[in-house]
Every structure is written in structure tokens, then in C-alpha cells.
Symmetry: C2
Subunit: 631 residues, 2 copies
């Protein structure tokens, strides 16, 4: 089937072309902006986005090439079964996540090299697709098993889902339909194969739910939404089994309890949260209020009892899984980078649907403290696991471990490619529009256009908390500008064209007025360091505090400690914190210091804390986020 | 080769026949007693030993029969390759551990049913052995791989090692040599196959080191000691690889660092500690003082930084492994029952070699708190994992989990059979002899004969701390009676024939005198409940205490808490502990109570603690060993 042959497609283009990730068709409280409407112009995140483009994506292409990920597609295209297959069964998915990142980045930069890669690899992918739309090169090449014979393990549907997401990104950022054609053929194959009245199964690894809803959003093809809804409803009845004897259970697969009855996300964290994001998409597009309420409850419970202070998810290495409620030992923190990224995707969907500031607060917490920790500042090495503590004498027996330091690539390299697509599309998460006006959720230096307003935002965020907005263009009549005041920002102030405006942390400051070009708005978020205590049920943090400053969770790393303070033994003797700008660290950052001493009764000194996500960018050694108090 | 043909055997018999586990040939500070020299006559441990005989061993025979463990031997005897194999590759080893337990129990009770089983199964085992001595039914039946092709995974040498241990037990308790012949043939096969100048490899799962040294002790065949020494020295050079792609590393296999250079035991806890016990045997028999010093250092470091308060070992589920030093989160405690048993075996060897009370102290701590917790009081269900905490809402997704409760059997049932052989031979760990006299290490009601003295010991230990010894027979002249005063027994008193004798906790009370029949010795170990704090590096126990009483670690279980106290939220508000005898619990035990309240600011009540090892004998629910202090 060719895309052009679909009568709905042209109508859809007008609204979907130019969009970013997540463009709801159903009415939501907030409307996302197009990929051209927000642009990071300067500052910390802008530089990271640039590193992502020039280092991460470029090296990613080399790594995937070295791993022969694309060779698999060439071999599948040849149609010969029994050829050597390269990588894990989900290698296609990593190639497609990289392809999606490349599409977003190309949309942003129009870089020629990226354009060439996109054309070359999309052509290769199209040639590898089976005539009936099936596409998963492991099964096409190796021919070890029938299609979907090991549906819980072989990631076939997952692989097609990542391709669909890449196709949506490619289409929205360029209007090019080649990959979208492949995506529709794959989706039609899935639709012809799976359903309550067809093959009543689902993939061991959720993702297709989100992908199908987005494809529905682009094409207007209702069947894709219905199929996504099927995959959500079919799950949770204990039908997935473990063909590999690795001890996976229905808990691992998020298949123990139907999604709409689930109270806490459980099992493999990335799978559970991808599923939750997809279920939220389905609820939004189908207007299923019961399902939507269930997803909000799941999110509240996850944040309350199954999330580390830095926003990372997953406290069990076995099964890369969520633990029981409040089971959050720092030293065993798994916090897969992909899990935090999946949570941002889920949380962003809840924000669009509700407009509640707590969702934007979590997106910020997870980006800075659980996602950015997954990559070096240079953009060349990655953490798969984001632990909150590394001790003296830790043995790096596993390349995912904190003590092993960040790695250039992994046998399972989902996290690097997931980071790439997240950073390449990060600007989409910064602002939204409504009929009334513009909402700014995340801060930095950027130009923002939406809801009738065009603004320039200038800030050295997250290092400094003063953010200046200048109105570059505004229509006649009143427009509302909404600025998120983070929950942590006690004492925040807002000044609109010289007049102070009262604001409340944890809510949006809403300013409705007739704007003129040149109007200036100043939001000041106090960057006073603070200490945070944990829930009394979390044993590992009892009698301890974390240091936070603005959106950043801080950590102590051995290399910064003087006066013989040892990370494994140090305790804070006073919660009076001081901050100090250090030009010599990472090109200039604020460090936080506190009076401390070694337990049980060692020397006193001042410990030095740096932003958690920056740890392990120098040498690898002991690190700790939670600090005992001996005051 | 027939045992009778060995000229050394007869000479050896005299000294080895009648011995218990571990009968050193080299001179050690303490000499173990024969299996007939110590007999539990009454009391708690005696009843457990009886349950082990009448319930555990009997049901074990049924479980192994159901699992067709013996069918594997019958099929191997038929010599046909390609037949169905039943159970994991180490199923032979579980059958042999049960056979060893049966041998010790038969030696103790002379039970006819046990005698029949021993004869039947030993005949079957002999018929299954290959002509050259090889015996591992998985490889013999399935014929999937060459012998030792997957030496790190297939447990072939491990399986033969468990058979050798069973053969030694059978021989020492009966003089019967049928299985000893099989053991020697297997050992000769191993000796002909492995060595620095032969096949330079070793088993992925240590155990053969201990087994070969014991076979040397029985037979006097030096080659077996040399081969054990080879297996110890060959390890630690990173030669073991993972054929199954499960991510096992040289750390997992205790193959990263040579045994004599290892500072902390690491990797798979059971393997690491079996290896340590075998290396200690080798050091003792070869007089290798450097290796012996290294094993003592390893033990000190394990106890200091890698052991839970209850004596259980292993804080990582992934790889069933030791964590980094001080990485001991209660909620993720793995504490495999086999690991604590292995530690008792290792620690007993160090005790015999040194006579230091700290070793007997640990044997006691691990028996009561990390081994007995592995089986129900009825002897019919088992814990594989001994966690220190179960929360509300814990999902029992794995039958090893505390929240799943004890199980009748496991796919990997090493723990039940290991418990059986430990309880059936427990009396051997109670006392030793020297030329000077008799040493009593563990207390209860028993008759003890050694070092020239014959005693009756009467005590309701561990419930009550007063222990009475009556001399039943003594020679002319002076003999020394040594009684361990546990490190926890502050305020202990000793009265010898009416006269008080000063004693020091953590040391042996040594009384040298001319004894007369009827002399009475009274040792009183105060059973005052106490609170214990953890090391400041163990984050999960910060600001918390455990309750201990005598040798027992206590825990709180949800079923005992009144006044709405919740296990997950309760904190002690005063460390003034009270104890109360409760006839209604488990046939009568002392419980400990303390003023407590629910955090953050709930009602006040008195929490009720029971001995940790007795938890989950009623219903399964929240349980906790470490209690926060809110005083």
C-alpha cells in the first residue's frame, strides 16, 4: 500500500507535518508546538544538544556500523534465510532509535550528512521489509523460529514499533513519506495478525502502543488506534511466558494485572513505563476516562514509592525491575537511563492532557538527574545503569555498573540511542500552546513561538535562576503567558514589564494582558541549596539527606573532597550549606559545601558536592548522593 | 580399583572409622570427636534433629524420587546415550547431599529404612559409574557435550565431589566401603585428568577441594590432597568462561584473584565459601602457613564487611553473590541457606586449627539465625533465600522470595539437602578434645565423651542460659574442661563443684582439676535481651537496631503486633527491652517487647519480637529484623 493512496493522508498532513513527538488528535488541555516553534539558542542544554548532534549521533552511526546493524537489513533484503545475524534480537530497534534521533536532529539542523544517512538507511529498511509488511531482521535472516514463535522474547513487534516512531519523526520533520510507507505496511501487517478475534498475543516488550497511536495521529487511520488499544487491553492476563528459562514471570512482563487495574508499575521498569505511556495515549485518544484515571494513579504511586530522589526508576538488577514499594537502596540503584526517558515520555503525555505543573516538575527532575547522568558531557560515553552510590573497593564486574564508568557502547545499546533521540527533540518539551496563549515548562535560552506569542527567553539555567523573557511579537488583544514555577522554587518572584506579580511554587504563573513587542518578563527562581529527607520507609536513606539546588540533585565524589574526608565515611555535621562558583570545574559550575566529618569520629572538614549528573566525568571512584547526618 | 587393595586403608580405618565430618590427619589444636561420642539427648536442637530424620529426610527421598533423580543413575547404568535427563545438571549433587545426610542420620539412629535406602542407592550409583571412574549422569545420559566441554557450567566435578563426601560419611559411620570404592575410582579419574601438567582446568562450582581432602583423610592417599591443592592453586587466573551467555564473570566463579591473594570473598557466595573451606583444608593438611593466614584474613574481612547480622551471606540476587564491602541492604538480603552452611563448614575448620572462640561464636550465630531460618519447625518446607525484611505489598514473583514463604522443594534444591546433612551431623560441631581434655563449643542437652572426660550436659538452650554439666566418668589425674563463653554473654558466671570461677566472654573458660564422677559444673549465660547497632557504612541499618537475646537475632512479624503497629512503619521509642515467656507461641518461647510507635507520628504501643529463624511459620506477611529508633 502506498501512502498517497490513503484519502485521509492529505488532510492529516496539514495538522501533523511539522509536529514534534506526541501530536494528539483529541483535544488536550495543552497543545504541543511544532519542531520549528521552539529553538534552543544558547546555554547549557543548547550545548548538550549540539554535542548530541556532532558527537553522539555521529559516533552512534559508527558503532551501529561496526556492529553491522545495517548489514542485517541488507541480508534480510537479499531474502536468503540462514545468514549470520549480528547483535541481539532487538538490534533493529537500536538502529531505528538512532534513525529517529537523526530525523529529529536533521529537522532541527538540516545537516546534509544526516540527510544522506536518512535516505540511505531508509532505502535499506524499505528493501528489507517482507512483502506482507513484516520486518524484524533476526527472524528474517536467522530463520531459527517461526514468526512470533517466541513473541515474549524476540522483540519483533518492538522492533517494528521503533521503526514506526522513526517514520513519524521523519515525516513530521521533513514531509518525506518513504519510511512512513514502510511503517504503514508494518502496522497493517500487525493489524491483520493481532487482535481479540485474531492472534491473541502481544510483544514481551511494550512500545508498539505508543508507536501505533502516533501513526494514527499522522495518518488518521483509526485501525492503528484500535490495535494500540487491543495491545493495552490484552496485557495483564498472565499469557506471556519465558521461553528462555531465565526466570521471567508475568510480573517481569507487566502481564500480571490488567493495565487499568494496576496500582503500582512493576517488573521490568522500561517495559512497564513504555506500556504506561502507550496506555495514556490510548486513553487520551479514545476518551477513556477510567483508563486515564488509572494511569494518573499509577504515576502518583510510582513517584511516591518507586522512584529515587533523582527521578531514576528500578531498584533491582535482576530483571532490571522495579522493587516493592519503598524498596530503594542507593547502592543497588539500577535506574536504567531508558526508564527515566520512558518516564519523561509518559509524564509529558500526562502534562499535555492535564496541564498540571507537577508533571512538568518531574520531566525537569528526570531530565537533569536521571537522563543527563547517562552520558558524558562530551557526549561520547554512556551509563546504562545510574546508581546513586559507589563504594571504595567496588568491583566493576559488569560494564553497566557505576564503578565501571561510562562506556562507549553496550552489547544492548538501547540507552545511548534513546538518549540521542531525547536530546535531539528536547526543545519540544519546553513549551506548549492553548487558545488562550503560551505555556513555558522548561527554562534555558531559546526562542519560543506559540499561542499567538513570540518570545525570546534568556537564562544561564540551570546554573542561575533568573530568566528573562522578551516579547518579540504579539497580536492585538490579550494573550496569556504561563510560566511554570517549580515546586522547589520557594521565594520565586515574577516581574512583568516592571510590575511584581504574586506567584505560587508548584503552579503556573499566568499573566493575561495585551503584550507589546519589547515587553520584558523576569522570573527569578532562587537557587538556594537545600537538603531533602527521604520517606521513613526507605531504609537506605534513614538519617540522611540529599543536597539539591534548583532542579539539580547533588552528589559527593571522591576527587573533590579535601581534609581527608572519605566518601564512604563522611557525615554532614551541619545542614547549613554554602555554595561557591567554581570556574575550574566543568567550565564553571556552582558547587555546594557543608561542614562534615568522617564517621565514627574522624576529622572535620567541608565536603564538596557537585551536580549528580556530572559525576564520573573525571576519574571513577566512590560517589554518594545520600549523606548521613551527624549533627 | 578396590579399596581393599590399598595397603594404607587398614591403617587408616583405625583412625578414620567412626569419625564425623572433618577428621584432620595433620595435628590441629582441637581434635573432633567421633560420631558416637556426642549425642543430643533432649531439648530444642534434639527435636529439630529428630524432625530432620523423620520428616525432612523421608520427604527428601520422595521429592528426589518424584524428580527422578535416581532414574538418571539407572539410565546412566544402562549405558545408552540420548535418553531423557531429569532436573538441572547438578541433580546428581542434590541426590548425593541427601545420601550423605542419610548416612549421618543412619550412623546416629541405625534406622532400618535408612539402611535400606543407603544400600539400594549406593548400588545404583556404583552401577552408573563409567569404567574409568567418571560419574555425572547429565553428561552420561544426554550426551549433549563432551566431558568437561562446559566445565564452568555442567557441575561434573561438583557432582562427583558430593558423591565423595557421601562416601566418606557412609564409611565413617558404618565402615561400609561400597561407595568409598566408587569415590576412589572417581577421584583417581579426576587425578588422571586434571593438574598443572594435565588438563589445566577446574569446575565452575568449587566443592571438590573439601571432598578430596576428606578422601585423603580416610584413605591416606596423598594424591587426593595434591589434587585438591591443584584445584585451589589453579583457580583465580580468570580462565573460567561463561558458555551460557548469562553474564557470568571471573568474579562470579571466584576466579578473578588467586585464593591466597584474595582479601574479600567475592562473587557467588556459596561457591566462594566452599572454596575457602577447601583451601583451609589444604592449608591445614599441607602445613601451608601462608595460605592458612590468607584464609583467616578472608574470614575476618567477610565477617566484618560482607555478612548480615544474622550471619547470612550474599546481598545480591544477580549471581547469588556477595556485594561490595558493607553493601548489605536488608530488603535485598539473599542469604542463601547453603552459603551459611558453607560458612559453618569453613569456620569449623578454622576452629579446629586454632581453637579460637570467635569461630565457635560464628558457628552458633549462623546455625540459629541463618541456617535454621531455612526450614520450618516441622521440617517440611524450606527457604532458599533468607531475607531480613519483607514489606507490605511484596509480590512473590519468585519462589525463593521471603514473601513467597517456605517451599516444599525447589527446581534447584541444594538448600533442603544441605540442611539435612547439616542437622543430621550437627552434634559433631558441639565438642572437641585435646590431650589436655575436653572443649564444649555449643550448648544443649547432650552426652559428651572425649579428652578423657565423660559428661552429661543439661540445658533448655537457647531459651534459657543455665547449663549444667555432670561428670559421668573421669580418669585419675587432672583433666581440663573448656567451656565457650560466647562473646555476647556479658555477666556470665561459672560454678565448679560449688566454687565460683572467674570467666571472660569471648574466651573459653578452662577448668583444670581432678574430676570425680558426679561433679557438677554450672555455666550461666545471661539471656538479657540487647540491642545491636550496625556499622556506619551499612546504609540500610543507619539509625536502627536489631534485638538479640543470647545466640538469637530477633525479628518483628506482622501477626504479633497489636495496637495497630505496622511492621513497615514501626520505630522503637525506647531501647528498654522487656521479655516475656509465651507458652502460646511455638510450644513456648521468650518474646521481647519494646515501646514503639508508627512513623511518622502514629500511635504508641509495644512491639513484639520473636526469634528471626521462626518467622514465616504461621502466615506470610511483613517482617523486619532492623528496627528504626525514634527515641
Amino acid at each position: 500500500m502506498s501512502v498517497q493512496s490513503d484519502p485521509t493522508i492529505t488532510a492529516v498532513d496539514a495538522q501533523s507535518l511539522g509536529g514534534g513527538p506526541v501530536q494528539p488528535r483529541a483535544a488536550t488541555v495543552l497543545t504541543p508546538l511544532g519542531f520549528a516553534d521552539v529553538r534552543l539558542t544558547d546555554g547549557f542544554l543548547s550545548r548538550l544538544q549540539q554535542e548530541n548532534a556532532t558527537t553522539s549521533i555521529v559516533r552512534g552511526q559508527q558503532h551501529l556500523d561496526r556492529q553491522q546493524a545495517w548489514t542485517n537489513f541488507a541480508n534480510a533484503a537479499s531474502g536468503t534465510v540462514g545468514q549470520p545475524y549480528h547483535g541481539p534480537v532487538f538490534e533493529d530497534g537500536e538502529a531505528f532509535k538512532w534513525l529517529e534521533a537523526t530525523a529529529w536532529e536533521h529537522g532541527r539542523s538540516q545537516d546534509q550528512q544526516l540527510a544522506e544517512w536518512l535516505e540511505r538507511y531508509i532505502e535499506l529498511v524499505a528493501s528489507a521489509q517482507a512483502p506482507d509488511g513484516y520486518l524484524s531482521t533476526f527472524n528474517q535472516i536467522a530463520g531459527k523460529r517461526d514468526r512470533y514463535e517466541w513473541i515474549s522474547y524476540d522483540h519483533e513487534i518492538f522492533n517494528m514499533a521503533t521503526m514506526i516512531q522513526a517514520a513519524v519523526a521523519r515525516y513530521r520533520t521533513s514531509g518525506a513519506r518513504e519510511l512512513l510507507d514502510v511503517a504503514r505496511k508494518a502496522a497493517d501487517h500487525l493489524d491483520a495478525t493481532f487482535g481479540f478475534d485474531k492472534r491473541r498475543e502481544m510483544c514481551g516488550h511494550p512500545l508498539v502502543e505508543m508507536a501505533l497511536v502516533e501513526l494514527y495521529r499522522v495518518t488518521g487511520e483509526r485501525r492503528y488506534l484500535d490495535l494500540a488499544s487491543y495491545f493495552v487491553e490484552a496485557r495483564g492476563h498472565g499469557t506471556l511466558t519465558d521461553p528462555t528459562w531465565q526466570g521471567w514471570t508475568s510480573v517481569y512482563f507487566s502481564d500480571r494485572i490488567p493495565v487499568r487495574d494496576t496500582v503500582y508499575p512493576e517488573g521490568h521498569a522500561v517495559r512497564a513505563v513504555y506500556l504506561a505511556a502507550g496506555a495514556t495515549d490510548v486513553a487520551v485518544e479514545t476518551g477513556d476516562h477510567e483508563l486515564f484515571a488509572a494511569m494518573r494513579r499509577q504515576w502518583d504511586n510510582m513517584v511516591e514509592a518507586k522512584m529515587y530522589v533523582n527521578g531514576s526508576l528500578g531498584s533491582r538488577w535482576e530483571g532490571e525491575a522495579f522493587g516493592d514499594p519503598y524498596e530503594l537502596p542507593s547502592d543497588r540503584g539500577y535506574g536504567e537511563t531508558c526508564a527515566a526517558i520512558a518516564s519523561i515520555q509518559w509524564t509529558w503525555r500526562l502534562l499535555l492532557a492535564t496541564g498540571e505543573a507537577k508533571y512538568a516538575d518531574l520531566v525537569e527532575r528526570q531530565l537533569y538527574n536521571a537522563v543527563l547522568s547517562g552520558v558524558t558531557l562530551a557526549g561520547d560515553r554512556y551509563f546504562y545503569v545510574n546508581t546513586l552510590q559507589v563504594r571504595e573497593g567496588a568491583i566493576p564486574y559488569d560494564d553497566r555498573m557505576g564503578a565501571a564508568g561510562r562506556q562507549e557502547w553496550f552489547g544492548c545499546s538501547c540507552c545511548p540511542t534513546n538518549l540521542m533521540r531525547t536530546l535531539a527533540s528536547w526543545h519540544h518539551y519546553m513549551a506548549t500552546a492553548t487558545d488562550a496563549g503560551l505555556q513555558v515548562h522548561q527554562y534555558g535560552s531559546a526562542t519560543v513561538c506559540g499561542g499567538g506569542l513570540q518570545l525570546s527567553m534568556a537564562s544561564d539555567y540551570p546554573w542561575r535562576g533568573d530568566i528573562e523573557f522578551i516579547v518579540d511579537d504579539a497580536p492585538d488583544g490579550e494573550r496569556e503567558l504561563s510560566l511554570r514555577v517549580p515546586g522547589w522554587a520557594a521565594g520565586a518572584t515574577l516581574e512583568v514589564v516592571g510590575d511584581p506579580v504574586p506567584i505560587v511554587p508548584g503552579e503556573y504563573a499566568r499573566v493575561r494582558r495585551s503584550w507589546r513587542t519589547g515587553d520584558v518578563v523576569r522570573l527569578v527562581l532562587p537557587m538556594t541549596p537545600r537538603t531533602t529527607r527521604g520517606h521513613h520507609r526507605v531504609d537506605a536513606v534513614r538519617g540522611s539527606v540529599t543536597i539539591e539546588r534548583g532542579p539539580l540533585v547533588y552528589a559527593i565524589e571522591h576527587v573533590d573532597q579535601g581534609a581527608g574526608l572519605r566518601v564512604d565515611d563522611v557525615a554532614i555535621v551541619s545542614t547549613d550549606l554554602a555554595q561557591e562558583w567554581r570556574d575550574d570545574l566543568f567550565g564553571g559550575i556552582p558547587v555546594i559545601t557543608a561542614a562534615a566529618r568522617n564517621l565514627p569520629d574522624g576529622d572535620v572538614g567541608r565536603l564538596v558536592a557537585i551536580p549528580y549528573f556530572m559525576w564520573a566525568n573525571r576519574e571513577i571512584g566512590p560517589m554518594k548522593v545520600w549523606l548521613p547526618i551527624d549533627a
